[in-house]
Symmetry: C3
Subunit: 679 residues, 3 copies
C-alpha cells in the first residue's frame, strides 16, 4: 500500500547518471531531506536494455534495495519516453515525422511515433519485463508510466491509425464531411483512403480536420498508456499506476478524459513566467489538477486502486510530480527562485490537493541536455541554499500529513476543456492573439486576486456546490455543454461568460444567427460584429478600466449594460452586461478586462451569487486556501510579499506549533498553515 | 449577352455549402439587394466530380435555374483552383513541392502543380465537361476560369518545363550564361540538363535565375488559363472569359501581359492595411486594373468578346470580382469596415472603371478555413448592418448605370512592371527594405493626395495623352524601356524618376558607369554611391521634409538641385533634382520623401507639366474622380472624413437625384456622383 | 620567392567575369593603384573545366601573362569552393544535406559536402591539374586553396566519416558514452552504428554530440585543405600555400589548429556593425589573426615555406586577404565606408601584423549574387572616390615596407578557443544571450579603449612575455588548460577572468562542487547560483557602473570584493572580486560590465600587473599600435574622430616624410606612422 499517510517529498532520481559510490551519499542526503518518494527509471531504457533483448537490471536491483533500506519508496517508471539508439536504428519507421515530412532522429528524447506498431510493441515489452521483475518489490509505491505524453507524428502509421480513429468517430463519410464542412474549398471526401493527417499544405488548413487530429492524438497516446497500465496492473493489481501530465496548449492531450484512466492524477509544473505570475500560474495548475482528479473520480465509475475513497465524498487527491527546486528555464534564460519561493509554491500545490511536492530532479548532472535544469542537489552540492531549503521543506511537509483529510474549498466553478483551447489557436480565427489558456488564466487570476476558492470543472461535471460558474472563452459548445450551462442557470446558478464562449460547436463550426450561438438567450444579448484589437491596443471602459485583445458589437436583448466602451467605433455601446434569469444573474464580458477590472467584476458577480472569499481579511499578496474536513479545516496562508504580514485568523500553526490568537504574523516570504478547529 | 447595361452587384455564391432550402432564401435576399451577378462553382470540383469521371450536376442545374428565374446572371467558374482529394491521391506527382523539397499535401486549396501534365489534363477535363453542359445555359453571363492564379512549384515536372521555357527564351546556353552572369561563383552551364529550378541552396541565389523563374511561372500559369479559355470559347464563342487576379508582390504573374488574354480584366482586392491606407490602396488597385485593361486592349490586337468597343476609343472596362463586405483579415486580425466604408470603396472602384462591385462571398459559412471571412450575409444573418448596407449599395449601383459610358480621366502616367518589383525583392540587393510595390504605392498616394487622376501604364504603352510620366523605382530598363522614356521626354513630356529606376537591365544586370544607367543623361546627373537607411532611420531634407529607405551620392551633370540633404554624410548634397530637357523637365528623387513632401513635389512637377487636378477645390479627405464621355462627364466625390464636407461643384447628383448648385454637401462618410452636363 | 619586401595591395581578381578587352584596362588601373598581388581563380572552376575532364586554360594563361608583364603577382586559387553545375548533376550524393534532411542544390556557391569522396576526388583533380600547369609560372606568389572553408552536412558520407572520427577520438564507446553523458535521456550507445550526426530531433540535443560534430567538421575541412596543399607543394615546394579564413561563431573551424598547416595565416574581414564598432572589430580580427600566426609558428615545429623566420623571434606575419573597399552588407543593408575609413582599417590590420591590405573584389560585376558587393573599381568605374582612395592606399602601403621588420607589441594576453564559443551557443544553456565571441570582443574592446596592446592566445601558448592574462567567458577548461592558467599565476602572472570561464570540461560537462570548477581556488571564491539577465535588463554596480547578460551569487573564499551589486536579489553581494595569489592578483567579473566600467577594470588590472598602454597620451578616438624591432619601433596613430588630433610623439612620419617634433597632428580621419628611432 503506497500511502503511508505522509505527504510526499522527493523527485526524479536517476542513479544511472552516477557511479555507485554516489548512490549511498544520495540515500543519506535523501534521509536528511526526509525524502520519502523518488521516481526511478524514467529515461533509463538504454541502461536497462542496452541491446535488443539484453537486459541489465543489476544496478536497478541494487538501487531499489538501497532505497528500500533507507525507507524511501519508489515510483518506478517505464522508460518508454526515450527509446535507446538501437531501437531507432532497428525501426526507422518508428521515428516521428513532422507535418513538413521531416523524419526526426534520435539524439534527444521522445523520438518515436506512438502510433508505430514496433514502438508500441517495444514499449509493452520493456513494461512487461519491468512488471515481471519488480511488481512485488517492497520499495515500490506506484508505477509511473512514460513521461509527459505529448508528441505527435505524420508518418504512414499515423495516417492509417488516424483513418481508423475517424471511422470510429464519424462512422461514415457523410458525417465527417458535414463535421469538417468539406464543401468549402472542394475538400469533400468520397473514400476514407483520401483522408490524411493535416500535413504541410498550401494555405489554411481545415478547422475540423485540425481539431480531430488533436483529439486523435489524445486518444492514441492514451491507448499507449492504457496498454502499459494494464500490463502493470496484471502483475500486481494493488499497485497504483499514473503518468505525469505536461501542461501547455501545445499538448494534444485531453487531461480530463485521461483522468479516468489513472489511479492518481500527476502533473509537472514549471511556471512560464517568473515575476508577477508564477504564483498565479502555480495556483491555476493546482486547481486544474484537482479538477481533473475530481472529474476522473466522477466519471470513471469505480475509483481505481487501493487509495480509493473510503468516505462518501473523499478529498480529490493528485500529485505534483515535477517542479523546479530553483532555476526555471523560461523566456530564453534560467530564473532562480528566491529563497522561500520553492516552499511557497510547494504549499500552494499541497493546499490545493497535491499529496506532496516532487521535483525534477534529485541531483544535477554534469552533462546531458538538461545539465542546467535545477535540482534538489545542485551542481554546487549539498552545501547550498537549495539543498538546505529542500531539507526544510521536508520538515514542513512532515508536519502537514493531517491536511490530506481535507478537501480544498471552492465556491466558484471555472469551466475548461482542452478542445476549446485547441480551436481558438487555429488558423483563420478573427485574431491571432486568441489564447484559451491565457483567457482561462485571466479569469482564474481575477478570482485568485479576489480571494475566491475555485474549482476547475469540465463541461458535464456536477455543479450543485457552486454559486457561480465562469466560462472563460470556452469557445466550443455542443448541445450537451449548452444544456449543462442552461441547467445550472435554471437551477438558480449564476454565470459569468467571457467573449467567444459558445460561438462554435464541437467541430468548430460557428453557431449561426448571432454570437454567441449557444448562450445568447441566456445572456440576453446578441453579438453582431467582432472588433479584435491589436497586440498593443486597448479600449477604454466606463468606470476607468481597459480592455485588450477583443471587443465586439453587443446588441442587448434583455441584458443591461454594466460597463460600456468609451471612444472608438464602439463608443457608448455595452462592453460588460448583466442579465437576470430566474433567481440567477448572467454576466457577459465582451473584452478582456485589465486585471483590476476583472477582479472587481468577478467580485461583484461572486457577491451577487452569495459566494464568499476564503479569507476576506487577508491583505494583498497573501494567498489563502482552505482545506476542510468534517469537524475541522486548515487555512493555508502564503505571504508572497517581501514584508511581514498580519492576518486576522485563529488556529494552531502546524508549521511552528504556535497557536494564533486572533491574528497570525507571516514572515516576509513565509507561510502558516492553521488547523482552525481542534481535531 | 452578358451586358445588360447595369453595373454588377453580387459576389461568390457557394450553394454547395448550404442545403437546398437555403438556396431559395438566397435568391430572395439577392433580389432584395439587387444582386445581378454571382460567381458560382469556384471551389466546387469535389461536389461536381466526387470521384474520377463520376459527375453530379443536379444541384448545379437546380441552382442555375433558380438564379435564372430570379433574374440573376452567373459567372460560372471552372473549379480548378482546388482539385478534390481523390485527384491528389491518384496523382501524388501533381502535388506542389517547395524550394526545400517539401511535397505539400491536400487539405487546403491550390494543392497542385500547374506544370504537372496530370493536373493540366484533369483541369481541361472538368472545364470541357462544364463547357459542354452549360455553355448555352441562359443564366450564364461569362466564364470565370480558376481562382487567383499564383502558386509555384519545384517538382520534376516544373524543372522540365522550366528548361523548355529557358530554351525558348534564351535560345542557346551562351545567351543564358551571359544573361545570368554565370561567370560569378562558377555557375557556367554547358548543358541544359544542368539547369534546375532555384531550389534551396547554400547561400545567395543567382538574380537572373530567380527572375526568370518568376517569368516562367507567369507564362506557365497563363498557359494553363489559355487552355481552359480556348475550350470554353470553343463551346460558345459569344461568352466572355476571365479570371480573377490576386494582387501582391509574391504573385508570380505579369498581370499586364495576361490582360491580352482575358475578355475582361478582373481583380480581387483586399486592403492590407486599414487605418489611413485602405482608401489609397483601393484607388491604386483600381488604377492598376484599368491600366491592365487598357494595356490588354492596346496590345491584344482585336478586342475579345461581345463587350468589345463600339466607339473609336471606348472606356477601359474591368471588374472588381472580389472584395470584403466588412471584415478584412490583415496584420494578424480581422478589421471591421465602418458603416459606409464598403460603399465608398465600391464607388472608388466604379469611378475608376470597374463594371460593378462584387464580394467574396455571398453568405458566411459555419465551417471551413475561411469561416470568419466577411460576407454580404454574415453569420448573424440578413438582420445585420452589413446586409442592410449591401441592399443600399445595390440601389446605389442601379442609379449609376450611365457612367459606364465615361472613361476615367488622367493627366499623369505612372509606370510599373511586375519584373521590377520581383527584382527589387531579390537577395543581395543593397537594402532588404526595397519594395517596388511600396514605392509604386508611395508615388500613387502622392498623386492621389494631390488630387491628380493617374493611369498606370506598362513600358511601351502610348504616352501621348499624358503630360507627366512617373517612374517609381522602376528598377529594370532594357533598351526598349529606356527608349520609350527618352521618346516621351523628347516629345516634350515631363518625367519624374525615383531612386533605383533604370539601374539594371531586363536580366537584373547593373548598367555600369554610374547609376541610373538608363536615365542618367536624361536626368542630368550621375549617382556614385548608395546610402541605404535603416528601417527606423530618416534623413532631413532642405525645406523641412524627410526621406526614408534610401539616400545616395548624386553628382550633378546639368541638373539643378531642388532639395538637398541636411546633416549626415550627404549634408548639402542634392536629394531632389530638376533638369530641363527640350521643352520638358525631368525630376529625380534620390530618397523616398515623406508623404507631404512627395505630394508637394508631384504637385510642382504636375503644375510645371501643365497637368490639372481632378477637382482643385475638393477639401482634404474628399476623393474626386472623373469619368468623361463626349459631351458630358461624371464627378465622383467620396467623403472619407467623419464630418460633412462642402465641395464647389455643379451637376445632378445621381445618388440623390438632387442637382448641385455651385456646391454639393457630402454627408460624413458619404458620397455624391454628379452628372456634370446634361446628356 | 613571393616576398618582394613590399606590403601587399590588391584583391580578388575575376577576369572570367569580363571580356578580354577589360583585362588590359584592369592591369593599367592596377598599376595606377600600385596593386602588387591579386587572387585569381577563386570561383573559376566552371570556366576552367566547363565539362568533366575538358579544360579551358587559354584565358587564364593570357591573364597570368598579362599580370606578370604588369609586375603584378598572383595568389592562384584552387576553385573548389564552387563546383560547376555538371559536378552537382553527376554527383547528387555530394550535395549537402541540412539537419532537417533537405538536400541543397547548386545555384549558389559551396554546394558540396566536403566529406563526400566524389567531391574530394574532384577537388584533388582540379588542384593537381592547376599545380601541373602553373606551379612554376613566374607570376605566382602563392597558392590560395579554396575559399572560406566553413560548410557542414548531414549526408550519409558525413555520417560514416563522423563515426570514423569518433572512433579515432574516443577509442571505445564507454569513453564516448562518458564524454557525452549519454546516461541522460537514454542515449547510451552500444554500437558505433547507432551514432549519427546531430540531425533534427524532437527536443534539445546532446551537448557532447553537438560539440564533437563541430570539431569533426573542423578536422574534416582541414583534411580537405591538406590534401590540396600537399598536391600543390609536391609540384613546387617553394611556393607558399594558404587559405582564407572566414570569421564568425557559426564557422566550424578551429583556426588556431589550422594555423599549423598554412604557410601564411590569411583572413577575410568584414565588420558586422558599422557605427561605433567597426574599428574595434577590425582590431580584434587583426589580433586574432596574429595570434593564430604566432600559434602556428609555435606549434607547427618547423615553420613552413620560404618566408620563414630568419631571426630568433621573427614578427608574426599574416595577411588580410579580403576586406571591403566601401560598402559592407550588414543588418539588412549596405553601409558605405566614409572617406578615409578604408585606409584606417587597412592600417589597423597592417599595424597588427598583416602583410598588406587586400580586397574583395577588384572590379564590381554587373551581375551575379554579389553584384552590389563593394570593389576597388565600383560600378561607377575608375572615376570614383573609392578607386581614388585605392590609389592613395597603394601609395601609403608602399611607404611602409620597412615596418614588416617589427613585431606588434602587447603586454596583455587574451585567451580564446573556438570550442568554448561553440559550447556557449548550445541549447540548454542558462541563457540564450550567451555569446563567447561577444564576450571576447567586450574584453578586447575594453583593452583597446584603454590603449593596451593585446595578443590573443590559445590555451597552451607561451605566456612568459605577458603580465596579465584575460579569460573572457572561456567556458571550457580541461586539465591542461586549467594547469596552464595556474602555472601562469604561480609564476607571478596576473589574471582577469569573466563569468562562465572554466565552468565545464572539454566535453562541456560541468565541473561540480561550485562554479567555476577550474578556477575557483585561484580566484578565491565559489559561485553558487546563476542569475542570467533579460536582454534589456541591467544590474547596477557599486561605483556607478552597470552589468548586463549575467549575474551570479558569488561566495568569497579569500577574494575581496572590488565592486558589489546594488539592488535586486544580489544587493550588496560581490560582483567584481580581487584575490592575491603569490605575487600576482586574480580578478573575477561575475557580470558583463558596461564598456566604461570594463575599461576602468582592465586598466586597474593592467596597472596592478605593471603593464603599460601603447601611447598613454593618445586622446580618445586615436588608436595607437606599435611594432617594434631591435633598435627601433614604429608607432601607428589612427585618428577615428572627425576632428584633427594632436598626439605627443617623436619620430619620422613615414606617410608624409615629415619628422614629428614632440607632437604630431593627425588630420580628421587621418593617420600617421612614426619611425620612432633612426634605423
Amino acid at each position: 500500500m503506497w500511502d503511508d499517510g505522509r505527504l510526499f517529498h522527493g523527485g526524479d532520481y536517476n542513479p544511472e547518471q552516477w557511479p555507485a559510490a554516489t548512490w549511498r551519499e544520495d540515500v543519506a542526503l535523501m534521509r536528511r531531506a526526509r525524502v520519502n518518494l523518488v521516481t526511478v527509471g524514467v529515461f533509463a531504457w538504454s541502461r536497462l536494455e542496452p541491446a535488443p533483448g539484453r537486459y541489465d537490471f543489476g544496478w536497478l536491483d541494487e538501487v531499489l534495495d538501497l532505497l528500500h533500506d533507507g525507507g524511501i519508496r519508489v515510483a518506478l517508471a517505464t522508460p518508454t519516453a526515450s527509446p535507446p539508439p538501437w531501437f531507432s536504428l532497428a525501426h526507422p519507421d518508428a521515428l516521428p515525422v513532422t507535418a513538413d515530412g521531416v523524419r526526426l532522429h534520435h539524439g534527444s528524447r521522445d523520438t518515436y511515433c506512438a502510433a508505430a506498431p514496433s514502438y508500441r510493441a517495444a514499449a509493452r515489452g520493456i513494461a512487461a519485463t519491468l512488471a515481471a521483475r519488480y511488481a512485488h518489490h517492497p520499495a515500490l509505491a506506484m508505477w509511473h508510466v512514460h513521461n509527459e505524453y505529448g508528441t505527435t507524428c505524420h508518418c504512414p502509421h499515423t495516417e492509417a491509425a488516424f483513418r481508423h480513429w475517424l471511422i470510429d468517430r464519424h462512422g461514415d463519410l457523410d458525417t465527417l464531411n458535414a463535421a469538417w464542412a468539406t464543401s468549402f474549398w472542394s475538400q469533400h471526401y468520397t473514400d476514407w483512403a483520401y483522408v490524411s493527417t493535416p500535413r504541410a499544405t498550401q494555405y489554411l488548413g481545415n478547422p475540423g480536420h485540425l481539431l480531430d487530429f488533436r483529439r486523435f492524438w489524445s486518444d492514441t497516446l492514451l491507448a499507449a498508456y492504457v496498454e502499459q497500465r494494464d500490463l502493470l496492473k496484471a502483475a500486481n493489481p494493488a499497485l497504483p499506476v499514473t503518468t505525469n501530465y505536461v501542461l501547455g496548449d501545445w499538448v494534444p492531450v485531453d487531461h480530463a478524459r485521461w483522468a479516468r484512466e489513472v489511479d492518481l492524477v500527476a502533473i509537472d509544473h514549471y511556471p512560464s513566467v517568473v515575476d508577477g505570475g508564477a504564483e498565479e500560474q502555480t495556483a491555476l495548475a493546482a486547481d486544474l489538477a484537482r479538477g481533473w482528479a475530481r472529474h476522473g473520480r466522477t466519471r470513471a465509475g469505480t475509483p481505481r486502486g487501493p487509495a480509493g475513497p473510503t468516505r462518501a465524498d473523499p478529498p480529490a487527491t493528485w500529485l505534483l510530480m515535477e517542479s523546479a527546486a530553483s532555476q526555471i528555464h523560461t523566456t530564453g534564460r534560467a530564473h532562480t527562485k528566491e529563497p522561500g519561493r520553492m516552499a511557497r509554491h510547494s504549499l500552494s500545490h499541497v493546499a490545493r490537493g497535491s499529496r506532496g511536492a516532487m521535483f525534477f530532479q534529485w541531483r544535477a548532472p554534469a552533462g546531458g541536455a538538461e545539465r542546467f535544469h535545477s535540482a534538489l542537489v545542485p551542481h554546487t552540492g549539498a552545501d547550498s541554499r537549495v539543498f538546505r531549503e529542500s531539507v526544510r521543506l521536508g520538515e514542513t511537509l512532515d508536519r502537514l500529513a493531517e491536511i490530506t483529510d481535507g478537501e480544498t474549498t471552492a465556491s466558484v466553478a471555472l469551466a475548461w476543456d482542452a478542445a476549446s483551447g485547441w480551436a481558438l489557436r487555429q488558423p483563420g480565427m478573427p485574431s491571432a492573439l486568441l489564447d484559451g489558456h491565457a483567457e482561462l488564466a485571466a479569469a482564474h487570476r481575477a478570482l485568485w486576486r479576489a480571494g475566491y476558492g475555485c474549482d476547475v470543472v469540465v463541461p458535464g461535471d456536477p455543479l450543485d456546490r457552486y454559486r457561480l460558474l465562469v466560462l472563460p472563452a470556452l469557445y466550443l459548445a455542443d448541445d450537451a455543454t449548452a444544456g449543462w450551462v442552461h441547467d445550472h442557470v435554471e437551477a438558480g446558478g449564476h454565470l459569468l461568460v467571457s467573449y467567444l464562449s459558445g460561438v462554435a460547436d464541437q467541430h468548430a463550426r460557428v453557431h449561426l444567427g448571432g454570437y454567441p450561438g449557444a448562450y445568447r438567450d441566456l445572456l440576453g444579448l446578441r453579438v453582431e460584429e467582432f472588433h479584435p484589437l491589436a497586440a498593443d491596443e486597448q479600449v477604454l471602459l466606463s468606470g476607468g478600466g481597459t480592455g485588450r485583445i477583443w471587443s465586439e458589437t453587443v446588441h442587448l436583448r434583455g441584458a443591461e449594460p454594466v460597463g460600456t466602451y468609451v471612444g472608438g467605433v464602439l463608443d457608448g455601446r455595452p462592453a460588460v452586461t448583466r442579465h437576470r434569469v430566474g433567481t440567477g444573474t448572467t454576466w457577459y464580458l465582451s473584452t478582456r478586462p485589465d486585471d483590476g477590472t476583472y477582479r472587481r467584476l468577478v467580485t461583484e458577480a461572486a457577491r451577487t451569487a452569495g459566494a464568499d472569499p476564503v479569507c476576506p481579511a487577508a491583505p494583498p499578496g497573501v494567498e489563502a486556501v482552505r482545506r476542510a474536513a468534517p469537524g475541522t479545516s486548515w487555512l493555508f496562508l502564503l505571504n508572497h510579499t517581501d514584508r511581514p504580514q498580519r492576518v486576522p485568523a485563529d488556529g494552531l500553526d502546524l508549521l511552528t506549533g504556535v497557536p494564533a490568537d486572533r491574528e497570525v504574523t507571516l514572515p516576509a516570504g513565509g507561510a502558516a498553515v492553521l488547523r482552525e478547529h481542534p481535531r
